[in-house]
Amino acid sequence: MTEKTVRVGFSGDSKELKINPPDTSPPAWDLDSKLAVVGTNVPRVDGPDKVTGRAKYTYDINLPGMLYGRILRSPHAAAIVKSVDTAAAMKMPGVKALVFAFDESKIGEKKLRYAGDEILAIAADSPERADDAVRAVKIEYDPQPFVVDLDDAMKADAPIVNDGKSNVRGKNPRGDAAAVDAKLAGSSKKIEATFRTQVQTHSALETHGLVVAPDGDGIKVWASTQGVFSVRDGLSSNLGLKAEQVRVISTFVGGGFGAKFGPGVEGVLCTKLARQANAPVKLMLTRKEEHLAVGNRPNSLQKVKLGADSTGKLTAISATTFGTGGVGGGAGCTIPAIYNLNRDATYKAESDVFTNAGSSAAMRAPGHPQGIFAMEQSMDMLAYELGLDPLEFRMLNDDNPVRRAQFNLGAKEIGWPNRPKVAGGGKADGPLKRGMGVAGTLWYAGGGKDAKADVEIGKGGEVTVYQGAQDIGTGFKTVLAILVAEELGLKPEDITVRAADSRFPYGPGSGGSTTTPTVAPAVHAAAYAAKRKLFEALATTWQVKPDDISAKDGKVFVASDPSKSLPFKKACAALTADKVTGSADREANYDGYRGNTAGCQFAEVEVDTETGVVRVLRVVAVQDAGRIINKLCSESQISGGVIQGLSYALFEDRIMDKSAGKMVNANFMEYKIAGPKDCPEIKSIVLDVANGRNSVGAMGLGEAPVIPTAAAIANAIYNAIGVRIFELPMTPDKIIAALARKEGAKTA
């Protein structure tokens, strides 16, 4: 190892760092690196497949002799399965296999815990016949008491969802409640408020599902997943197979958003059906099942207290939160530490509450949109209490140079000075009132050590990168092509990308915004290693040292000797073997500029005070993700996050019928997702930060942009109409009710 110096940071703030990378590592890209492809606008490498319908998603895999699986699920929120009669179903035309989701010997005592709980699965030779067969199964249920509502489930006499005495599972509080309360009591201004957020379902357009085909002594699996390797490992351990006996392919995935890790119950059932029938089985969930059974963002009830001194500096925060992740999942609600508040000024107590509903799953920035909805509205409330501009108040309490720069950028872009200075005091256009709001965010994704990569250079000049991880829509495959192209002096379209297959080098699941930061350094190093091999071969031909050779602009050359220069393709002819492969493991991170990424969003809304309808007119989103690899796809990630955040803010809501124990809107007609007409004008600004930490310096981007949108919109609504909305989604009924309360308060 040799010590090197790199410069990290961004135009507004930078520093020098001493690093000690292994000698095999490529030279690290830092703030001063001039890169040709990295950071430019590169269209997706799989764009042509996606726009022509050629892309084969798991859903599109059709194999000869393939059967179709369908799951039979509990219609009850809680019930004992007394008996199951499958005789008629098995006699239906085309039925080939039937497997139970639980130990069959438990019939008579098996308890189903939510409407949607799996009972059994059937495979038949057409989807229609599989549906028929599932309908023909006769089951006797003994319905049990249940509870689906968060507040009801917390009551002492609530039916117990799981075992134990209570549905509430508290975690160890962090901080000293008494000390924090004392600080709050001594604050010159403080606010106290209760916020609620709803359950949101991931609603990826491609539902969960797989195609499983028996393959020799193992299986070949196509899975709609965020974790090629977690599906492989989950299925192999479940079936007692070796990892090599399970091959998982996920070339195209129709979205994930956090819910698609591991094989899931449906994966295990599909595999069992395929093995029983000894035929390929496709099992894709229906839209309804997708809403009920494969995860959601838990709801929240958050009691927040926040104080500041007379100069506007925060003094203390106290947050007590509850949420339900259904029968099994946690309901973590994270109020991230954006602003300057010491640990001894922070108290946080979190509890999960069980209900008879489908389990939660990680969803795009788990816990954070909930927490920021409460935190950033609390900040706003305190700013108005103090008589400070909400943006100025945030700047007073934020030391992060990146976010400070972002706040300034965003304020300029949206025209922050033009907002109404008094909440609700803006000029009205009939019943329409406008306002602006802001919210900050942060994320952590520096990536970890779990990745390998191979880069192959062929004698004919063909370059291929192999990496097993999946592209769930983020543009990951394009990232691979960009990194290799940069290192070899080529264009992204010169690189063949082979990804999303468990036969390729190991890659992480797409979670925590870590795919790119984890994989990128390994790919960079593999490309570098392959390049070194090419240079070594050329060095012999040219009678120079490998170190004298460079690759740039499609050429391989010796800078000091213009006679030694060849187009890349021709240079590859110097290889003695048919191809050379550079392989690399991801090295551990070293020191960097910052351990987390920063962001902020500004929203402008128009509220109809007669109908309560909120229209989001504009959103300016400024986000850092370390070094940006592909500007085009990064902007897509950001605006996509904003639209999903807006959808969460205004529309989406899993509605449970308390007395029936069922979700009443498990479809896309009544579970409203933001559509083209709801889309505001969006300005996505990526702030490129050379973050160091590895040779690439990329950080993750997937999650952060969805976090602050709802809070920024809520703050904008307050600015527009002078009424605060404490509960998501901010539907017209809540706006009207809040306005009526304000009117009532005035006249009372």
Binding site: P43, R44, D46, G47, P48, K50, V51, T52, G53, R54, Y57, Y59, D60, N62, I71, L72, R73, P75, P93, A115, S126, P127, E128, D131, D132, V134, R135, A136, V137, Y141, A204, L205, E206, F252, G254, G255, T286, R287, K288, I472, G473, T474, G475, C633, E635, S636, S639, G640, G641, I643, Q644, S647, N667, F668, M669, G675, P676, K677, C679, E681
Partner: protein
């Protein structure tokens, strides 16, 4: 896909759309007599035909569909949607099944010049019509300008909604080659993109339309 999953245990409690269609007599549907008399139609075991009135069948019947300028002979059950016929019988999997009830547009195709959600059309009713699917837009390697613009403006992320949105765009630009932003929003309002690509789609359409008019 169907809505049967949770009602499996209680066959009477929910009538799914397709279950309903299946139970409807075929009296009004033109079925080649050979199909009825031949061995290909299986009488439904669960619903024996009544002595009078319309007869109820399940089982497959032969139909002919004209897709992307080519005729296809295939066999489907009468309840099979056009979408499932395309996907499961003809391996034309570009059109996607997402909501199964006409609310998301992922299955959009153009039928006799009109944009339709193919999950809401029965395959037997699509006979004799000119159907264009996403697979029919490009000619060979040459992309339709809409497809090229979608790539250029990154108007797609996971891409699952993309075929439907491209078909909706195609249909829009045919009748209105220079739409305003609002007209685009109206025309695409039958489509959902979970990844949130709408603003990039508008930019792509503006490019194809050669700049917006409004």
């Amino acid at each position: 896909m169907s809505d049967s999953s949770d009602d499996g245990a209680r066959p009477k409690s929910g009538v799914s759309r397709r279950g309903f269609l299946k139970g409807v007599g075929l009296g009004s549907v033109a079925i080649p007599a050979a199909g009825l008399l031949g061995g290909s139609v299986v009488l439904a075991e669960e619903a024996p035909p009544k002595p009078s009135g319309p007869k109820v069948f399940t089982g497959e019947i032969p139909i002919k569909l004209r897709i992307n300028g080519k005729d296809h002979d295939l066999k489907v059950e009468p309840r099979t949607t056009l979408l499932n016929a395309l996907r499961d019988r003809l391996d034309l999997t570009g059109s996607k099944l997402v909501c199964d009830r006409g609310t998301c547009g992922a299955c959009s195709v153009i039928m006799d010049g009109l944009l339709v959600t193919s999950c809401m059309v029965l395959a037997i009713d699509a006979q004799g019509k000119e159907i264009t699917t996403i697979e029919g837009l490009a000619s060979g390697d040459k992309l339709d300008p809409i497809q090229a613009a979608f790539i250029e403006f990154d108007a797609l992320q996971c891409g699952f909604c993309t075929p439907g949105l491209i078909m909706a765009t195609k249909s829009l630009l045919k009748t209105n080659p220079h739409p305003t932003r609002e007209e685009m929003q109206d025309a695409l309002s039958g489509n959902i993109c979970r990844c949130g690509t709408y603003d990039h789609i508008f930019a792509a359409i503006e490019k194809v339309a050669g700049g917006a008019r409004g």
